[in-house]
Structure formats: structure tokens, C-alpha cells
């Protein structure tokens, strides 16, 4: 039995849940986090004690406090490395990490890997979604948690899903209620889905709280309304919205968009149980179950990892929590189900490569996903398809996914400084900045 550590990637609720469970079982853990502090997107902490706290359920604060206390108590059994980005497994089975602080790429030889890198937001493209001033609702939310400050000027929140409500309420509580929340779906027409959600009273109470906050601030919650295009208008944005047969334009400073969450897109790495280094996913990066269930899913992944490594038995203790979360998320998905408007030809699909719907239309109608990437270049830029991958799949539903990508696991899963990577394994590599510095003062 080796005492090699298990690498846990991501110090959000799932990663912390996994790391604590592994440490409790006596297994050493290396826990990496891309940010300079733990918490993940859900528990993003204020940048300083002076920053006002963001509106959120008390149970989230309690859950995070327990995780943070657990981490402190675990002491040396959990080697926490912040500002460190996981780059993937290379052909020599090295787990590569990019230590941004020291500007070094290092290899770990872990006994196993648990990826708890969270979900990526879905954003259905429309003309102008790439403009400055358009952000994801989740992105705006983490910045709000960090700074305590809402974006300035009129804000419109649009798309689909419960996060729209949460973000809108948090903006209102921070002093800048949005001009409206536009929900593409029509949740009031889904009574069975609404009824199914009552089985999770904590979540329902949270939602009701957000709704009450919006009501108090007079923020309209418009259902069946979808953004069709955005244009810049000086420092502002003109947001074109279709609501039934009606069209209307909102002039705002910021548009926050969100069409739900996607699992599996954060690293693109899939689970492997039989390779030399088993890889498991945990939390919303595996399946969208929400923050409460993410801790339980981290524990579940830890238990499975222990079983795979022959260091313990898999426990089923968290299955009930996960099952309830799964039923709640399924009801939520049904509640807001609504197809997005199909984007016109000029719509940017792949921002990194500057590719539009029209470019997709020019590719062979029988092209496989592999060719849409390789020849069409969709998803070949720095974001590696995290956002456009789903859009391309939706626009080309018949593309053969079996030829999705190379069968070979790819790294880096995130862009990495060429200088840092060049220093890998080089005894002569310096650890200080290697970028050319102009001595002239500007």
C-alpha cells in the first residue's frame, strides 16, 4: 500500500468535502485551488473584512464555516495549494499543476485524482453576447461576493433558471436592484414541477426569500421573455427582447446572462477507474446537484476513491442526500424548460476563434464533431470549447459525437504560460519571473 497522496482539484464544497473525508481516513491529500482562497464560486469570500456580506442563506455560511474548520483541523494531512491551476494528466501519468505564484509547472504522482472543479454556466448565443457589459450571472455573482459592490448603472438579468432570481435578489440587497429579470421559461405553467420542488423545503424557502426581496424592490419577473440581440449604445447596451409577440428594448449598463449549468465542461476530463491513476469527478462538475449536495458528493467520491485504492470500503451514507438533490434539480429543469431562440447567421458562436453561426453553416452538412473542431476550428481557442461546445452541439444535433475529439487525453486543460511550462523538469529553471522586462519606465 503506497502512501502517495490523492490529488483533489478545486477547494469548493465538493473538493473540501472530498479532501476532509480522505484525510479522516488517514490518506494524505494535495488540494489545489486556482484562486488565492478556498470556497469556490459558491463560497467566494469577501476580498477583505471591510467588504459588506452578500445576501445568502444562513445554511451556506454554516456549511462553509464547517468545511473551513475541518480544513484547519486536518493540519498537515491536507496540503492546500492555492493559486494553482490543474493542467491535466500527461502521457507519462504525471498530474501537472501550474503554480501561478511561483510561475512553475510541477508534476505530482498521486494515487488518484478527484476533480471537483465545479460547473460551467450555459450561455445560449445571441448577436452581441460577446460585448463588454455582458457577463454571466454567475460571474457577476462571484464578483459581487468578492467586492460587496453591485455593477453600476441599470442592470438586466436574463436567461433561464433559478440563479437569475438569486443574483437579482443579491444585486437588490447590495443596493442596485435590476431593471427586470427575464426568464425564458414559463414556470407558472408547470404546476407539477412546482409541486415536486416542495419536497426540498430549504431550497423553496431560499427561492421564496429571493422572490420577496425582488417584490419589495419592485423588480419585475417576466416569464416567457428572451433576449434576441444586444447592441452597444455609447457606454450602454440596447437589449432587444422578445416577449410573446411583443418586442421591446431595454437600455442598460450591464446585461447578466445565464441559461443553466453544465457538468463535465470544466476540464473535459472523464472518469477513469481502471487506469494507472484513477480519476473521479465530484460535485457540480460531475452532476448539477447544487451546493448542499456537493459536499455529500465530495464525500461519496472520496469513499469510492478509497475503495478503488484498497484503503477502505465505499459507503452509501450520502446516497439519500444526493437522490433528493437529483429529484429537486430535475424538477427545476422541467420548471424552466424552454428552447432558446435560434441564433441568426451573424451570431458569434466561438469567441476565442471569432467564428459565427454562418461559419458553421459553411461546413459540410455531414461533418462529425471532430471535423467541426479540426476543420471548422470551433472550440480550438484558449477556452477549449467550454462555452461554444454546447452551442455547436445544439446547432449541429446530427453531428456524429463518436468522432468528438481525439481519443487521446489532452493537456493542458487550461492555457499555461509557455515560460512556466518550459521550466518543467529543468534544474536550471529560475523561479522568478522570466518574462522580458523593459527597463525603461513608462
Amino acid at each position: 500500500m503506497s502512501d502517495a497522496p490523492v490529488l483533489v482539484v478545486g477547494a469548493g464544497p465538493a473538493g473540501l468535502g472530498a479532501a476532509l473525508a480522505l484525510a479522516q481516513a488517514g490518506v494524505p491529500v494535495v488540494l489545489t485551488e486556482q484562486r488565492d482562497a478556498i470556497g469556490g464560486a459558491i463560497h467566494r469570500q469577501p476580498a477583505s473584512p471591510q467588504v459588506p456580506k452578500v445576501l445568502r442563506p444562513a445554511r451556506h455560511a454554516r456549511s462553509f464555516a464547517m468545511l473551513a474548520a475541518g480544513l484547519a483541523a486536518a493540519g498537515g494531512r491536507i496540503d492546500l495549494r492555492t493559486s494553482t491551476v490543474f493542467l491535466g494528466l500527461d502521457g507519462a501519468d504525471n498530474a501537472l499543476i501550474d503554480d501561478r505564484r511561483r510561475q512553475r509547472v510541477e508534476a505530482l504522482s498521486p494515487a488518484g485524482i478527484i476533480l471537483a472543479t465545479g460547473a460551467v454556466e450555459k450561455v445560449h448565443p445571441f448577436p452581441g453576447w460577446e460585448l463588454p457589459g455582458v457577463m454571466t450571472a454567475g460571474g457577476a455573482q462571484v464578483l459581487l461576493k468578492e467586492t460587496g459592490r453591485a455593477p453600476d448603472g441599470p442592470v438586466l438579468v436574463a436567461g433561464s433558471g433559478p440563479l437569475l432570481l438569486a443574483v437579482a435578489a443579491q444585486l437588490a440587497a447590495a443596493g442596485n436592484p435590476p431593471v427586470a429579470v427575464l426568464e425564458r421559461g414559463r414556470p407558472w405553467r408547470r404546476p407539477t414541477a412546482l409541486a415536486a420542488m416542495l419536497a426540498s423545503p430549504a431550497n423553496v424557502a431560499e427561492g421564496v426569500g429571493y422572490a420577496a426581496r425582488l417584490l419589495r424592490h419592485g423588480v419585475p419577473y417576466v416569464t416567457g421573455a428572451a433576449v434576441t440581440a444586444v447592441r452597444t449604445q455609447g457606454d450602454d447596451l440596447d437589449v432587444m427582447v422578445r416577449h410573446g409577440a411583443a418586442e421591446r428594448t431595454y437600455r442598460v449598463r450591464h446585461l447578466l446572462v445565464h441559461d443553466g449549468l453544465r457538468a463535465g465542461a470544466s476540464t473535459g476530463i472523464t472518469e477513469t477507474r481502471d487506469g494507472p491513476v484513477p480519476v473521479l469527478l465530484a460535485g457540480d462538475g460531475r452532476e448539477i446537484l447544487g451546493a448542499d449536495a456537493a459536499v455529500a458528493d465530495g464525500r461519496r467520491a472520496a469513499a469510492e476513491m478509497l475503495a478503488l485504492l484498497g484503503r477502505g470500503a465505499a459507503s452509501a451514507g450520502d446516497e439519500q442526500t444526493l437522490g433528493a438533490a437529483r429529484r429537486f434539480q430535475a424538477a427545476l429543469a422541467r420548471l424552466c424548460e424552454a428552447p432558446p431562440p435560434s441564433p441568426p447567421p451573424e451570431t458569434l458562436v466561438c469567441r476565442c476563434e471569432g467564428l459565427r453561426v454562418a461559419d458553421l453553416d459553411h461546413l459540410r452538412p455531414d461533418a462529425s464533431m471532430r471535423e467541426l473542431r479540426l476543420v471548422g476550428r470551433f472550440g480550438m481557442g484558449p477556452c477549449q470549447g467550454r462555452f461554444c461546445g454546447a452551442s455547436v452541439a445544439a446547432l449541429r444535433p446530427d453531428a456524429d459525437p463518436s468522432l468528438k475529439a481525439s481519443a487521446v487525453p489532452r493537456w493542458p486543460v487550461r492555457p499555461v504560460s509557455l515560460a512556466s511550462l518550459a521550466g518543467f523538469g529543468d534544474p536550471a529553471a529560475r523561479t522568478n519571473p522570466r518574462i522580458h522586462q523593459d527597463t525603461e519606465d513608462r
Partner: protein, 385 residues
Amino acid sequence: MHSRSSPHVVVVGAGIVGAAAAFFLEAAGARVTLVEAEAPAAGATGASDGAVSVASKRPGPMMALALEARAFYRELAARGVLEGLFHPRSTFLLARGDEEASLLERHGADLAAAGERVVARSAVDLRRLLPGLGASVTAGIEVPDDGHAIGYEITARFLARSRPALRRATPVRALKLRGDRVAGVVTAQGEIAADRVIVAAGIGSAVLIGLGDVLVPRKGQMAVTDRAQPSGPAIGGHLMAATYLAAKRGISLDKPHIGLVIDPLVTGQFLIGGSREENRSDRRTDAATIAAILREALDFYPPLAGRRVIRTFAGIRTACRDGLPIVGPHPAVDGLVVATGFEGDGICLGPLMGACAARLALGEAPATDVSVLSPRRFAVREVAQ
């Protein structure tokens, strides 16, 4: 269009050579089915730099063929077939130190003797032409008439302009023979009858054509950076280390396993390669090899330190034991034409070799004499059937 009497040709492999062959076969009136194990350009074609380069070729038949192949690119671009896909650019062969400089001097003389324009460049010249060039570069030669083409783009263009029947995800298991003559191919999804067959399946050709171990895989790892600028090549030419040339010329200098090329892409990105790993056919990349390549790249061109690597990948070159490609009618099977073994030169040679293979498959003499590449130079082993 096709008459009933037009022959049906199966082309195995939808890389650049197979796609070119399909295009020229259709142009000559044949019916074509292109059978591909994965997807078009999924093999070495889609995992290579885009050098349409005479500068890098060994003197002798390869240099002569590359001259013709590059001229053929220019011709196809002018004819519209490859319009917009061939970009003229210089190749810079770069030396670090006297030993490498004398190798380049010799190579420059060989190129000039073959009729290629060559300009000797001092370190001062090079720094003017290539701002940012590393201090360790002491001399070089510029080959101004080379060009750049992206393998997957060329492949896609040939397929768009010919529209052969394309069978993706259809690995060919064996050839179907009738006596001494090829009658089709056997795939996992059944047999496909054919009057003629062209095998252009890279390393996958080896098992089909029965030439035993004359073909060896030679893996090459590469890295791609983010954009240094929004579009257009970020430096004024393709940079190639003298050590790359040395590896190609079979001369052993101190780092034979890495032949550095820095390929400035039209997207503003850089493609940086590559390793030469004998008998490796897996397509995984490892940090140690990539880092060694990048250290070489930084030594030649330090401004790369400000870039990010967004992707690494490996291509499998199909190398032939005697260093020459295999193009020609199969010595033991009638109606079977082989076109493989291009090692790292498939993008440069691909369109011309595809055209030659098409003519040979139709029983005609190709416009370029490729007899030196004939598979008849090897003894035939068992043909898979």
C-alpha cells in the same frame, strides 16, 4: 458525370494524400469511395506543421520532388482549387555555433545546386528580419520561395471540390483479392467492392500492403500557443533549427531527438515542434518532452516567453526504412496503388503525390516521375486479405 464504365476506386485514408487522390480521380472521371478509419485529416495530416518547404529536404530525390510539389501548390492555388490556402513565405534555417553554420553552408550549396534561391544571412541580418531572435543564433540561410499550407484545410478543400462518397469511422481490416487482383476492401461494416484501390493510410497502411516492417512510426510532439496578434504570421518566416536539418540528413548533432521548428500561423499563433520518437505510435504528449521543445524554442525566439500554450498534440509520421516515401503500383497485387511513408513531408508532397497515385490507379503515367518511390524496391510479405 460518371458513366457506367467509369472505374470505382476505393481510397483508403482521408488524409491529405487520400483526399488529393480522390479529387484527381473524380476529375479524371472515376467514381470514388473514400474510406477513413476516423475522420478526414484525423491522423498525421491534422497533427503537423504547415511547411510546404524545399529548404528542409535532403538533397537528392526528396529535394527534387519537393520542388515539384511546391510548384504544384502554386499551380493549384492559381487554378482556384487551393485558392487562398497556400501562403508564400520564407524558411529560415538557423545555426547556433560554427558546426551548425557549416552544416547550413553545405545545405545551402545543395539547395542552390538543385535550383533553389538561397540567401546567406548574418546574425545582424537575421535580427533585422526577425526582431526578437535569440542571442545564441549565430548565422542562417533564408529560403525565400517556400510556403505554408494547413493540412486539414487542404484536405477539406479537396473533399469540398470533389465530393467523393466518404465513409467515416470505417477502419479497413483487409484487402479483398480475386486472384492477383484487388477486388475491394473489407471493413468492420462489411465489404466495399472496387475496381482499383489506393492505400494512403499512413502507418495504418503497413498491415494492408504486406511490406512488413519497412514502415515505422515516428512520433512527433508539438505545442500551439495563443495569439501573439489577431491575425497574420507573427514573425516573417518559418524558423527551423539546423539540428532539425541534421536529423533529416541523418547527421547526429547533440540533440537528435528534437528538431525545432517555429511555425508562425496565419492566425497569429505559433506552432512549435517537434520530437522525433522512433517506433512510438501512441498519440499522447508528455510534459518532459514538450518542455524540452519549448526550451529550445525560447532559446531561438525568447519573445515566446510571453505566450501561453493552449494545446499540445502528437502526430505519427509514417517513416520508411530507406527514408523515401512509397508511391506506386503494388508489386504483387494488380489494381493496388500505395502512397505512404511521407514521414514529415506529407503536407508538402501530399497534393502532388495524391495526383500521381490517382494517375497510377487509372493505369496512366503520372506527370512526375515517381519510379524511385516504387514499392517494388521491397520484397513483398503477406498481403492482408
